[in-house]
Symmetry: C2
Subunit: 233 residues, 2 copies
């Protein structure tokens, strides 16, 4: 593969997307990172995304504003309380209210548009179907359906000048495996932001689904989590 083959990488600023970015670079892609200001309450992740993109030395980092808080229904964008202290069994059995309707579909669609204008046809997304919160748009069948769509929705796909590929390199990894892989690639997890419900200083709660999965992942990887928590779980 040419060393300057461009790819658009979705970068939330969290652990999974920063590891995905490092994997894309390790595979030789010229990374263009894309983040969204979508009315999320945990806006510290955007600052994290900025730092991570800078440290990784990506070619370009774009933050697109898209106000999804106009649409009610998710605890990530409204005043609904973020659930705390749920067991892994609870996480796996229901789709929680932190689910943002259509989020990954919207993010991939915009990434596809940017990629097409760059004459690229590779997208990276850090979805994970193992240690995840039960979101429908994190599953392999969703990723495959989007790939099919991309080849029908774009000028390059239809004209046959590109074969679109949605890379989801974490999809079958456990959180511990993701952390080990990122560690090998030199990801500085101190820069990442994971918590759905940080305090005003950006410190993590240690009790939401995202924090609990992260902490469990570091424990299982035998590594110490460098993130800043307001309560050590």
């Amino acid at each position: 593969m040419s060393a300057d083959r461009k790819a658009v990488v979705l970068l939330s600023g969290g652990l999974d997307s920063s590891t995905t970015l490092a994997i894309a670079q390790a595979e030789g892609f010229d990374v263009h990172a894309l983040s969204f200001d979508y009315g999320q309450k945990h806006r510290f992740e955007l600052e994290a995304a900025r730092k991570l993109a800078e440290v990784a030395g990506v070619s370009r980092h774009v933050i697109v504003s898209l106000d999804m808080s106009q649409f009610e229904g998710s605890a990530l964008t409204s005043d609904l309380a973020v659930p705390k202290d749920r067991s892994l069994t609870e996480m796996e059995s229901t789709i929680p209210i932190t689910y943002v309707p259509a989020r990954n579909t919207v993010f991939l669609s915009v990434a596809m548009g940017w990629a097409e204008s760059l004459e690229a046809s590779d997208l990276f997304i850090g979805v994970n179907a193992v240690d995840y919160s039960g979101y429908p748009d994190c599953r392999p069948e969703f990723v495959r359906a989007f790939e099919t769509l991309a080849n029908l929705a774009t000028k390059s796909g239809v004209e046959g000048t590109a074969k679109w590929k949605i890379h989801a390199p974490l999809i079958q990894l456990t959180k511990a495996e993701i952390i080990r892989r990122g560690n090998e690639l030199g990801v500085d997890y101190a820069l990442t932001h994971t918590c759905y419900d940080p305090d005003d200083e950006g410190r993590a709660c240690g009790r939401c689904d995202a924090c609990l999965l992260r902490l469990q992942g570091f424990a299982q990887a035998g590594l110490s989590d460098p993130a800043c928590y307001r309560i050590r779980a």
Copy 2:
């Protein structure tokens, strides 16, 4: 069907989407209209969308801002010149530079998110595969692929509480048939904006692909176009 079954209708402010809205209402749907401020140069269409939504008496009209002009490559969002005076054969043979990468995919994705928060699963889009400008995301196979995606990407689709349907009622109609149908349903086409390259007063150029297809449609329907042109074609 229950008279209050909700649907999200993509409303650009043009002829096709305003006819689609009227069809959704005629089918008994409680219409929630969605427009996008995506950095388009022909911003008069947003004012048109506002008036059309108001006149139609929709339950809610939301304009979502999403700045796609950061991504280069389309004459609709950049300084590239809008092509003029092309023949229908030219329009049909190539995808023009007015193509905005991934536009309909992005619009449908956001519509899907809003619909899911409304507990709706019906989306309407006024794409047309007959008298169209050769855009890949206006074809039946694109619409079907998005429907498949919607059923995999959403909580309601995965839990089986909804079967998503992407309604594209214009997809097999000629422009003349669309205009006749809208006329029967009482659409006021004087309120619609079609031109890709209006002047400062919002008057249509009469020469871009969109104007030419519109004018031909009215001629073939045997009706007079009430739009305001700066040059009568």
